[in-house]
């Protein structure tokens, strides 16, 4: 049972709208996003329900959902949305709020996805691009699943699908600078 009591402004809705640049209130619950989404079957609340929960200001419930972590940002939903809502942006906004305000789901898959994101960003920061072999190794170590997908490695290596090293990049420095600036901005905003 969800109890809706007076809360003045719907701060959660406003935060999501501000971060995403979309207007969740535009949603009229047609469900086209749900039937379009390739991963909505795996979500505990499909995009339409997430929209309604944001409208109702159900912050806890929304943040504990796995939906925004499962979202592939493929934009199939927003491409078909009759109300022109940028749904992936909304999902991203919810993810950001989860990270900023330290919402942690117990769901193992969500934990893994979050780790994946962290490692990926770390790779970009270090090398300016993705170092795939290291990324895979680090992901397997951090998720304590050392031999995950290992059987694919020999074939992929032989075919040259996974380069052993990482090529240096001219703009790596500039990318590092971007990270620094982003950090700075974040601290300022706090």
């Amino acid at each position: 049972m969800i109890t809706l009591s007076y809360q003045g402004k719907n701060t959660f809705l406003e935060a999501v709208n501000k971060k995403s640049g979309a207007d969740v209130l535009e949603c009229y619950q047609c469900g086209k996003c749900v039937s379009t989404c390739p991963v909505s079957n795996f979500m505990d609340f499909p995009p339409r329900e997430i929209m309604q929960m944001i409208k109702l200001g159900l912050k806890e419930e929304t943040q504990m959902a796995n939906s925004m972590w499962f979202c592939l940002t493929c934009s199939a939903c927003s491409g078909r949305c009759p109300r022109e809502i940028d749904i992936p942006a909304v999902m991203e906004a919810v993810r950001h709020i989860a990270i900023e305000e330290n919402y942690h789901s117990d769901n193992k898959q969500v934990k893994n996805i979050r780790k994946f994101h962290e490692i990926f960003l770390d790779m970009i920061k270090r090398y300016g691009r993705n170092y795939e072999l290291r990324m895979m190794a680090e992901f397997n170590i951090r998720t304590r699943n050392l031999f995950k997908d290992m059987h694919l490695a020999p074939k992929a290596l032989l075919k040259g699908k996974i380069p052993l090293g990482v090529k240096s990049m001219k703009s790596a420095k500039a990318i590092r600078k971007m990270y620094e600036m982003a950090d700075k901005l974040e601290k300022q905003n706090k």
Partner: protein, 657 residues
């Protein structure tokens, strides 16, 4: 020797699927008098009618039988085909082999075909005895009566009067304006109801062709289309409108307080009152049920303070008679009482109100000055729950229909609430959002996006009190979870129901009404403003729930119908009327008693040629007679015959089967 032509219609598949049409044609050809018989796919179409016209000329036919659908549908069409071919149109007979055979005997094709053959045989036999008849012209009284002075009545009256046809507008309450005068702003444009309505009200009062009779009711209607006689009871107002200036001294001093109907009983009015400041006419009336002087003979303060001496406690109800040609019924609607919703605690909790009460609260001329307030403690509500479909679409409560306007006015209320209380939030429990209308969907979106009204799909299961809040429990089907809203105020969009007086009025006017009490139109699609009784028309919510644009459109449609009716000096009328054979009439006067139209009177004629002794016989007024045949059935000396249904015709039919 009669020469009959028989034309059998397939009606597409309607008849042909269950009746073997060629067999019927063959059967018809066997009848001696039938000189020509043919079938066709659609006899009512132009080629079909041409077949009839051609056959009349080629085969020198003397009467025509069309075996097709109900004569209600196409009798006029075929009659016109006959007169186009130079034949008297009343020599036509229609055998109804669709409604009377193919549609009702779909399981047995042979029986259906046999019955169709019988029907054709009867029609042929009857048609042999058909006589040439001629339309009757009756004079028309060019004055319209409009019952109800809401927006529907106002619009109809103005449109008719603008065509320079006199109108008598009868309104039950002391002022015209109706429900629309109670509204604050109107969807989907949010223009103020008063601003668009009051100029029209003033126009009604000042129009040279409109006679406004407020505070009165129609109590009798006699006659027939073009020639009605109406009796109107003008209730005693106890105020002389001619000398009264409407200064207001009387109602300021009146000590009696009565719940104010205009404000849905939220505040009080006096026993002498005008319903609202913009009332037309802006003269007070005394409410005889509550006035101390009229009840007990004491008080009389209003008479003392009136400088003009306009108060007259001896005034009596007055009966006004008017001769009129057409009637527009526009009695409007009422709000359903939600008491049967016990699970909502209607009546137990003060902070549950209906939409019209909320409308009065947010109205700038309302009892709270335009600010919504909780009836229990006068606090301004922050969380307001609106519940739609209260009563409507609820079979268990006996109201299966959709009230049509609630979706829109609830969206409007959400917007108005946001305008009046900026930090408030509206939660709207709904089943569907029905916003079909110009600019309506956009308006609902505006409520959702601009004001952040939260729409929850589901019916509320119960409401209970917790502290000073009302807990509203329902399901949000969008997320499949039960929700409970802590509300300060609950507004019920209760069903729109017809005026309580509708059944009685319908009986008085001789028109029909449906199981809910809405007055019935003649045809749901093609004759939506006419009633089954000629010359009586319907406008607005008296026929079905409607919003303002639709009501105005229907009222204007009524006006067009009335103007059409009054276009000539006389009206054509079917010649199917009764005639009396004076030779056989015994003067028993049973026919006078059974005639539902008061069309039969008596006259005295000489007993014999040149005799001075007199005897009484019946006399029929052709203009009034509707051809129902009651007098024919009751006449024991068989002196009365109905043209088009004479005794020889009926006997021929019986002999044919």
């Amino acid at each position: 020797m009669a020469r009959v032509g028989v034309f059998v219609c397939f009606c597409g598949a309607n008849i042909a699927d269950f009746v073997d049409v060629p067999t019927v044609v063959e059967e018809a050809k066997k009848i001696r008098e039938v000189k020509f018989a043919i079938d066709y796919k659609y006899m009512c179409s132009d080629p079909g009618q041409q077949m009839i016209r051609d056959a009349i000329v080629q085969h020198r036919l003397t009467s025509i039988v069309v075996a097709a659908c109900s004569p209600r549908m196409h009798e006029k069409t075929f009659r016109k085909a006959l007169s186009d071919a130079g034949m008297n149109p009343y020599l036509l007979e229609v055998a109804n082999i669709r409604e009377h055979s193919s549609w009702v005997h779909q399981k047995d094709k042979k029986a259906a075909t046999d019955k169709a053959g019988d029907l054709v045989r009867m029609a042929v036999a009857k048609s042999i005895a058909n006589e040439q008849l001629h339309e009757i012209s009756v004079p028309v009284t060019k004055r319209a009566l409009v019952i109800g002075g809401g927006i529907a009545g106002i619009q109809a009256a103005l449109d008719i009067a603008d065509a320079r046809i006199p109108v008598t507008l009868v309104e039950r309450s002391p002022s015209i304006g109706g429900r629309m005068a109670q509204l604050d702003e109107t969807f989907p444009t949010l223009d103020c109801s008063q601003c668009i309505l009051t100029p029209k009200m003033v126009d009604v009062a000042s129009h040279p062709y409109i006679e406004l009779i407020p505070y009165s009711e129609v109590i009798e209607l006699d006659g027939f289309v073009g020639n009605y006689k109406a009796k109107i009871r003008k209730k005693a107002s106890y105020v002389n409108f001619k000398s009264c200036t409407g200064c207001g001294a009387c109602w300021q001093k009146c000590p009696v307080k009565v719940p104010n109907e205009y404000n849905m009983g939220i505040d009080k009015r006096k026993a002498i009152y005008t319903p609202f400041p913009q009332a037309v006419p802006n003269k007070p009336v005394i409410d005889a049920e509550h006035c101390t002087y009229l009840l007990k003979g004491k008080c009389g303060i209003c008479a003392k303070v009136c400088e003009k001496g306009s108060i007259d406690y001896t005034m009596q109800d007055e009966i006004i008679e008017r001769e009129i040609g057409a009637v527009v019924v526009a009695t409007g609607y009422g709000m359903w009482d939600a008491k049967p919703y016990e699970e909502y605690g209607v009546g137990r909790y003060k902070d549950i109100i209906n939409s019209l009460e909320f409308e009065r609260m947010v109205s700038s001329n309302g009892p709270t000055g335009g600010v919504p307030m909780r009836p229990s403690d006068g606090k301004i509500p922050k969380t307001v729950v609106f519940i739609k479909c209260v009563g409507s679409r609820d079979k268990a409560k006996g109201i299966e229909f959709c009230s049509k306007i609630c979706c829109m006015y609830t969206a409007k209320h959400a917007i108005l609430l946001h305008h009046k209380v900026h930090d408030s939030r509206a939660y709207i429990f709904y089943m569907d959002i029905r916003a079909a209308g110009k600019g309506y969907e956009e308006f609902v979106n505006r409520a959702q996006v601009e004001t952040g009204a939260v729409y929850l799909r589901g019916r509320v299961s119960k409401i209970y009190q917790k502290g000073d809040k009302l807990m509203v429990r329902g399901e949000d089907a969008q997320i499949g979870q039960e929700v409970e809203v802590e509300a300060d105020l609950v507004v019920l969009a209760t069903a729109v129901i017809p005026d309580k007086g509708n059944p009685a009025l319908a009986r008085l006017l001789g028109i029909s009404y449906d199981k809910y009490g809405y007055l019935s139109e003649a045809h749901p699609k093609l004759r939506p403003v006419e009633t089954a009784k000629a010359g009586i028309f319907l406008a607005g919510c008296t026929q079905a729930p409607k919003d303002i644009p639709e009501t105005v459109a229907q009222a204007s449609a009524c006006a067009a119908k009335v103007c059409g009716l009054f276009a000539g000096d006389t009206m054509k009328k079917d010649p199917m009327v009764s005639t009396v054979s004076r030779e056989f009439c015994s003067g028993c006067q049973n026919c006078v008693k059974v005639c539902p139209y008061q069309a039969i009177v008596t006259e005295d004629i000489p007993l014999g040629h040149g005799s001075k002794e007199m005897r009484t016989v019946a006399k029929i007024n052709e203009g009034v007679c509707q051809g129902c045949g009651s007098c024919v059935a009751i006449c024991r000396s068989m002196a009365i015959n109905l043209a088009g249904f004479t005794d020889p015709q009926i006997i021929n039919e019986i002999v044919a089967i």
